[in-house]
């Protein structure tokens, strides 16, 4: 409708990460339980725009999506010329610093792909800080399927090759417009940023042998993976979950590696019951406190 203004608002928050002040862009909508959403490698928070605008979810959740430094509208904090490389420690530190800067009380964190991987690390080391954790396309490790050096070299267009690589991770049933929008973010990424994120994914963030330490009685853990994701396959997620007592696994049909942006309607069918369960638990634990 012409003139329609979406309910999503975007602002910047100044966040100290590793002793350096960062200007972090975030979008939000809704009120209630804080729900922080983490985008995939090489993309940005726009992936969550459908969830952010969801009328039903925003009644009970304060839905927040922020752009990681170097992504979207969050510039690098400084211009040293160093190659960007995301590490497990830095990623964890960034999420916790962002949540602290916004004074979020026991947020739910939902991350996709690298965001799904780091959610596992939050579950291992910081479970008590969170109300629930949701990993989309998450596993403790995945077998590499291409050489990341192709992602950043002067004789290959970075945007084109990044988008073309991940295009195969989108389910064939996903609507064309959503598919193109998902890929557009990859075409817009800064040089070497997708590759730098994958340093965490491929090299630094191997959680095999650590996920066994996750205690889901401290913080519930939900893992949802699209059947068309051949990067983090359903088998990768099931294997990861098998090592964790109490993790709830859902394999999502007709979805790939970018469920929230490649087919928002289909994703909604799967995430609605999860958010419903978190809401229910939250209400009952609050009632328990007041009883």
């Amino acid at each position: 409708m012409n003139g329609m203004i979406e309910p999503i608002t975007g602002r910047y928050v100044h966040v100290e990460i590793g002793g350096e002040m960062h200007r972090i862009y975030f979008e939000e909508n809704g009120a209630g339980i804080p729900l922080v959403c983490l985008h995939t490698a090489g993309s940005d928070g726009r992936q969550w725009r459908h969830l952010l605008a969801d009328k039903e979810f925003s009644r009970n959740f304060r839905i927040i999506a922020f752009d990681m430094p170097w992504h979207g509208k969050s510039n690098p904090a400084s211009w040293t010329g160093e190659e960007y490389r995301l590490t497990t420690a830095r990623y964890t530190q960034t999420i916790r610093a962002f949540c602290a800067a916004l004074k979020l009380e026991k947020p739910v964190v939902m991350g996709c792909s690298i965001g799904g991987r780091i959610v596992l690390n939050l579950a291992i080391d910081h479970a008590a800080e969170f109300r629930a954790l949701i990993g989309l396309e998450a596993a403790d490790f995945q077998a590499p399927w291409y050489d990341t050096s192709w992602l950043n070299r002067p004789d290959v267009h970075g945007g084109e090759v990044c988008a073309a690589l991940v295009s195969g991770l989108i389910a064939p049933q996903s609507p064309h417009a959503s598919r193109d929008e998902t890929l557009w973010a990859y075409k817009q990424g800064g040089p070497g940023v997708f590759k730098g994120d994958l340093y965490f994914y491929r090299v630094d963030g191997d959680l095999r042998g650590r996920v066994e330490n996750i205690d889901t009685s401290v913080c519930p853990l939900y893992l949802l993976t699209g059947e068309y994701d051949f990067s983090c396959t359903p088998e990768d997620t099931k294997r990861t979950a098998a090592a964790i007592g109490g993790a709830k696994v859902t394999i999502m049909e007709k979805l790939g590696h970018f469920p929230m942006s490649e087919n928002p309607e289909q994703f909604r069918r799967y995430i609605a019951p999860v958010l419903g369960e978190i809401l229910k638990q939250s209400i009952s634990s609050k009632q328990g406190e007041h009883a």
Binding site: A143, W145, Y146, W150, D155, V156, H157, E160, V161, A163, A164, L165, S167, G168, L169, A171, P172, Q173, E227, Y228, F230, T233
Partner: protein, 141 residues
């Protein structure tokens, strides 16, 4: 000594036939040709045992010849099993059979040689090699 080469079975023949039709299908896809407008390349594409030498000039396949061709060079090769091509060309390919690199990951396809032209034009090759999708689906249904 003479010998007769084994005939590929019917499914293989269907894949080979579908492959041979790609240059004509490409001519009907001007946006795809445009995407490859800076691409000049000799490559080997098709079923593992019955690939084609493809000569690409400015995004058009100007020659597609069944291999082997005596002493013909190629820069890169992407070859997949007939099953992989049949699955890749389904209107809704099954998970794991829906992308060229999903096929290499599951070892149903091999990518060899100097990968530069392939990677620099990755979406072009994915879309070009998917062109038989609708035609092939109609033929086998």
């Amino acid at each position: 000594m003479t010998h007769t080469t084994p005939s590929p079975h019917a499914a293989d023949a269907a894949v080979i036939k579908a492959f041979a039709a790609i240059p004509a299908l490409l001519e009907q896809a001007p946006h795809l040709v445009s995407r490859g407008r800076y691409l000049d390349c000799e490559c080997l594409l098709g079923p593992v045992d019955h690939p084609f030498h493809a000569s690409i000039r400015s995004g058009r396949i100007v020659e597609l010849t069944p291999a082997p061709v005596l002493m013909r060079s190629w820069r890169f090769s992407y070859r997949a099993t007939p099953t992989a091509w049949t699955e890749y060309w389904k209107p809704e390919p099954r998970p794991g059979w829906h992308d060229l690199l999903a096929l290499t990951k599951r070892k149903e396809a091999v990518l060899e040689g100097d990968l530069y032209p392939f990677m620099a034009h990755l979406q072009y090759f994915k879309d070009m090699l998917a062109l038989p999708r609708l035609q092939h689906a109609a033929a086998v249904s």
